[in-house]
C-alpha cells in the first residue's frame, strides 16, 4: 500500500481517537447545568474527567501535527480556510481548559459560576464546530487553482455543514451522558441516564438524516458499499447504546456509543477518500492524497515514529484510565479542590 494512503488512515485514526476521547469531555461539560443541583454535583461531574481531559485534548494537537507533517497542503489550506471557525474553537478550548483548573481556586459563587459557564460554552462550541468543519471537508469548499480557500465563515454555515454540527453536538452529548452513568452513582447516574435517552433519540434522527445525505451526495460508486456498511453500523450501535442505557447496562452502552463515533467518523473519511479537501469551484483545484502529501522520505520517517509510538501511547493511556477507573460519589468530594 502507498504511504500516503496509510497516512490518510493514520490522520483519520488520530481524529477518530480525538472524537472518542474529548467527545465525552465535551458531553460532560455540556451537561453541567442540566444535571447539577449544587456545587458538589458540578464537582462530581468535572472530576469524572479530571485526570484525563488534558490527555484527551492532546489528541487534537497530535492530529493537527500529524496532518502538518504528512499532508502540509491539506493542513495549510484547511487551517487558513476555516480561519474564524478555528479561532472560535481555540478560544473555546482555552476557556474550557483554564476553567477546569481555576474554578476551584476561588471561594465566591460568582467566581465558580463564571468558570462553570466557560466550561459549558467551551464544550458546546467545539462539539458543534467539529461537525461543521468535517461536513464541509467532505462536501468540499471553494478552493482556487492555488488551493487557497476563497470563502468566509458563512461559506461553512450551509445546511449540510450545520446538520453535521448538530450531529456531533448530539453525539458527543449523548456520549458524555453515558460516560457519566459509567462514572457516577445514585442520583447523578439516574439523571444522566434519563437525559441520555432524550438527547440520544433526537441525535439518532439527526445522525440518520446526515449519514443518508452523506451516503447519496458524497460517496462515489467505489466507496458506497463501505459507506453503507459503516453508516448502518453507526446507526445500529447508537440505537443499541440507547437501549443498553435504558436497561442500566452502562458499560455496554458506553462501548456501543464508542462504536458509533468510530464508524460514523470513519464513514466521513471513507466518503472523502482519495480527496482530502475537494474544491467546489473546479474538481481539478481540489486537494487529494497525491497533491497534498509530503515526500516519500518524510512519510517513511513518520511511519516509523508512528509504528513505535502509537502502541506505547495506547498502552500508557489505557493504564491511566485503569488507575482512575472508580466511580465518583458525592461523599468523596473533598472540601477543597487541589
Amino acid at each position: 500500500m502507498e504511504l500516503n494512503v496509510i497516512w490518510f488512515g493514520i490522520v483519520a485514526f488520530f481524529f477518530v481517537g480525538y472524537f472518542v476521547l474529548d467527545g465525552f469531555d465535551f458531553g460532560v461539560g455540556m451537561s453541567l447545568p442540566f444535571l447539577s443541583k449544587d456545587d458538589k454535583d458540578r464537582r462530581v461531574l468535572i472530576n469524572t474527567i479530571g485526570p484525563v481531559w488534558d490527555l484527551n485534548e492532546t489528541w487534537v494537537i497530535v492530529a493537527g501535527a500529524a496532518l502538518f507533517a504528512s499532508f502540509p497542503e491539506w493542513y495549510a489550506s484547511l487551517f487558513s480556510g476555516f480561519y474564524l471557525a478555528l479561532f472560535l474553537l481555540l478560544l473555546s478550548l482555552i476557556a474550557r481548559g483554564v476553567a477546569f483548573e481555576y474554578r476551584g481556586k476561588g471561594e465566591t459563587e460568582k467566581w465558580k459560576s463564571t468558570f462553570d459557564w466557560m466550561i459549558v460554552i467551551g464544550s458546546f462550541t467545539p462539539a458543534l464546530l467539529w461537525g461543521v468543519a468535517f461536513a464541509n471537508i467532505v462536501q468540499g469548499v471553494p478552493l482556487n487553482e492555488d488551493h487557497v480557500f476563497v470563502g468566509n465563515l458563512f461559506t461553512l454555515l450551509n445546511p449540510y455543514g450545520l446538520l453535521g454540527g448538530l450531529v456531533t453536538l448530539g453525539l458527543f452529548w449523548t456520549h458524555g451522558l453515558i460516560f457519566i452513568t459509567l462514572k457516577t452513582d445514585d442520583e447523578m447516574k439516574f439523571r444522566a441516564r434519563m437525559l441520555a435517552t432524550k438527547v440520544g433519540v433526537v441525535t439518532t434522527v439527526l445522525a440518520a438524516a446526515f449519514l443518508i445525505w452523506t451516503l447519496f451526495a458524497h460517496h462515489t460508486d467505489g466507496t458506497f458499499l463501505l459507506g453503507l456498511i459503516l453508516s448502518t453500523v453507526a446507526a445500529l450501535t447508537l440505537v443499541a447504546a440507547l437501549a443498553a442505557n435504558w436497561f442500566k447496562r452502562e458499560g455496554i452502552a458506553f462501548a456501543l456509543i464508542v462504536g458509533t463515533i468510530i464508524s460514523a467518523v470513519s464513514s466521513l473519511f471513507v466518503a472523502l477518500f482519495p480527496n482530502v479537501l475537494p474544491s467546489t469551484i473546479d474538481p481539478a483545484f481540489g486537494l487529494t492524497i497525491e497533491n497534498a502529501s509530503s515526500s516519500e522520505y518524510t512519510l517513511q520517517v513518520m511511519t516509523w515514529v508512528a509504528v513505535i509510538m502509537v502502541p506505547l501511547v495506547i498502552a500508557y493511556q489505557s493504564w491511566t484510565y485503569w488507575v482512575f477507573r472508580k466511580r465518583i460519589r458525592r461523599e468523596q468530594i473533598p472540601e477543597h479542590s487541589h
Binding site: G64, F68, A76, S80, L90, L93, V98, M302, P334
Partner: protein, 472 residues
C-alpha cells in the same frame, strides 16, 4: 495584499497583523514555558528528596511548589494549542513551503512528548492516593522527561528556520523536502539552543523559588522549610546561571557560523573588524550608524565570535553586499536598534540574576551573620529578571533572522496566508489579546494567593479514606 484601514489612524496589512499576532501569542505562551521546564525538574527533585529521606519538609516543598507549577502549567497548555494552529491559519504559504521538513519535528513532539506530559501530569496530580509512593514519584519524572523532549523538538523545528539543514528544494512542487531527519534533529543551532533554553528556564524557576521563600522568611513564617527551599533555589540559580553563560557562548559561535548577520546586528558592527571590541552601551543614532558615546570592552566581540582575541568579525555592510550577490537586490539587515539592545539586555538581566544568587549564597553560608533585610525585597522584585531576559532573547533570535522566515530560503512576507484577510487576522488578534489579558490577571491573582498561603501543613492523622485525596 489585503489591508485594513482604521479610519484616520493607521493602515494595517495582513502581513504586519500576522507578525504582531505571532509575536504576541508566542511571547505570551513563552511566559509560562520556562517555569514549566525549570520547575518540573525542581519539584521532581524535592519529591525524590522526600522519598529518599522521608523528611516531611521535602514533601511540603513538593506540594507547595507543585501547586505553583500546576497553576502555571495550565496556561502553558492552553496557549500552546494556538501556536500549533497558527502556522496553518496565518502562515499557510510558509506551511506549504516547509511543511515536509518542519512538520516532522512537530509531529514527533506531539507523539513523543505532548502525550507523555499530558498523561503523566494527570497521574501525578490525581495519583497521590492511588499509586505506590515510588511509582507516583516516577510519574513526575516522566512528566519532566516529556517536557524536556518537547523543548528539544520545538527547538529543532526553530533551528531549521535559523539554519536550514537536511533538505532539498523540489522545484516541481515548489517546496523544501526533508532528505535527512538526523541532520534536522542534530542541527547545530538546536543542539546549542537546547541547553541554553533549559539552563535559562532553571534560572527562572530558581528565581521564583528564591522570591517565594524570601517572602515567607521576611515574615518569619515556616522558617525551616523556606530556608531549605531558599538554599536549593540559590544553588540552582548559580549553577544554571553558569550553565546559561557557557551554553550561550557556544550558541553564539553557532550563530556566527550560521547567521553572521545576526551577530553583526547584535553589535551594530557595520565594518568587518579584527580585534573587535564589545560595547556595553552606546548613545548614538537609532540605526547605530553614528555613535556619540560608548563604553567598550576591548577584544570581547572577537572573542565571543571566534574564541580568539584578534578574530575577524564580519560587518553588516560586507554581509549586505554578499547577500545581494547571493539572493538578489533587497535589504538583508535586521532592525539594528532592536537587535543591539535586546542582545545586551538579555545578557545584562541574566547576569544580574546570577549575581544576586551568588550574594544570597554568601549570606546563607554556615558562618554568616544572617541575611540582611534588603535581600528579601530585592530577591522578590528580581524574580522576573531571567524571564524578561529569555523573552528579550527570543525577540533577538527571531528579529535578528529578519527579513527571513527561513534563513536564505523564504522571506517572512512570502509566508503569510494568501487567502486570509487583514480583518480576519485583526479580529483574532483582538480576541486573543483580550482573553490573554484577562487570563494573565486571573492567573497572577491565583498564583499570588497560592504563594501567600505558604506550604501546606502535613498532619499525621490518618487520611480520610472516604474522600479523594486530590480533586478539582
Amino acid at each position: 495584499m489585503d489591508t485594513v484601514l482604521i479610519p484616520g489612524l493607521i493602515e494595517l496589512d495582513a502581513l504586519s497583523l500576522a507578525r504582531w499576532q505571532f509575536g504576541l501569542t508566542t511571547i505570551y505562551h513563552f511566559l509560562f514555558v520556562p517555569l514549566t521546564i525549570g520547575m518540573v525538574l525542581l519539584v521532581a527533585g524535592f519529591q525524590t528528596a522526600w522519598v529518599v529521606t522521608n523528611k516531611a519538609k521535602y514533601l511540603q516543598l513538593t506540594k507547595f511548589f507543585g501547586k505553583i507549577f500546576l497553576i502555571n502549567f495550565a496556561m502553558g497548555v492552553v496557549t500552546g494549542i494556538v501556536q500549533e494552529f497558527q502556522f496553518g491559519m496565518n502562515w499557510s504559504d510558509y506551511s506549504r513551503f516547509v511543511g515536509d521538513v518542519f512538520g516532522a519535528p512537530l509531529a514527533m513532539e506531539g507523539l513523543l512528548a505532548f502525550f507523555f506530559e499530558a498523561t503523566f501530569i494527570g497521574l501525578w496530580i490525581f495519583g497521590w492516593d492511588k499509586l505506590p509512593k515510588k511509582l507516583h514519584l516516577a510519574t513526575i519524572w516522566m512528566t519532566a522527561l516529556g517536557v524536556q523532549l518537547s523543548a528539544y523538538f520545538i527547538l529543532a523545528a526553530n533551528g531549521f528556520m535559523q539554519n536550514p539543514v537536511g533538505f532539498a528544494i523540489n522545484e516541481e512542487r515548489g517546496r523544501a523536502e526533508l532528505t535527512d531527519i538526523g541532520a534536522v534533529l542534530t542541527n547545530t543551532v538546536a543542539v546549542n539552543q537546547f541547553p541554553h533554553t533549559i539552563f535559562a528556564s532553571l534560572m527562572f524557576a530558581a528565581a521564583v523559588i528564591i522570591a517565594v521563600t524570601a517572602y515567607h522568611l521576611k515574615r518569619n513564617q515556616q522558617i525551616e522549610i523556606m530556608r531549605t527551599g531558599m538554599r536549593v533555589g540559590l544553588w540552582t540559580a548559580l549553577f544554571s546561571g553558569a550553565g546559561t553563560v557557557i551554553s550561550g557562548d557556544s550558541l553564539g559561535i553557532a550563530m556566527v557560523n550560521t547567521q553572521p548577520m545576526k551577530m553583526a546586528a547584535a553589535e551594530a558592527l557595520y565594518d568587518t573588524t579584527t580585534e573587535a571590541s564589545f560595547s556595553i552601551f552606546t548613545i548614538g543614532s537609532l540605526d547605530g550608524t553614528q555613535e556619540l558615546f560608548s563604553v567598550r570592552i576591548p577584544y570581547l566581540l572577537s572573542f565571543l565570535s571566534t574564541h580568539t582575541l584578534d578574530g575577524e568579525v564580519e560587518g553588516i555592510n560586507d554581509l549586505q553586499a554578499q547577500y545581494e550577490l547571493l539572493y538578489g537586490a533587497g535589504d538583508y539587515t535586521p532592525v539594528i536598534w532592536l537587535t543591539y539592545w535586546s542582545f545586551r539586555l538579555m545578557i545584562g538581566f541574566g547576569m544580574l540574576s546570577t549575581l544576586l544568587a551568588a550574594i544570597g549564597l554568601w549570606y546563607t553560608r554556615k558562618r554568616s551573620a544572617g541575611i540582611p533585610k534588603w535581600f528579601y525585597p530585592t530577591a522578590i522584585w528580581a524574580a522576573p529578571l531571567p524571564l524578561i531576559a529569555m523573552s528579550i532573547g527570543w525577540i533577538f533570535t527571531e528579529m535578528g533572522r529578519q527579513p527571513w522566515v527561513v534563513f536564505g530560503l523564504m522571506r517572512t512576507e512570502d509566508g503569510v496566508s494568501p487567502g486570509v484577510t487583514g480583518l480576519e487576522i485583526l479580529i483574532s488578534l483582538i480576541g486573543f489579546t483580550v482573553i490573554y489579558g484577562v487570563l494573565a490577571v486571573v492567573e497572577f491573582k491565583i498564583l499570588l494567593k497560592a504563594i501567600k498561603a505558604g506550604a501546606p501543613e502535613e498532619d499525621d492523622s490518618k487520611p480520610d479514606d472516604q474522600k479523594l485525596a486530590v480533586a478539582y
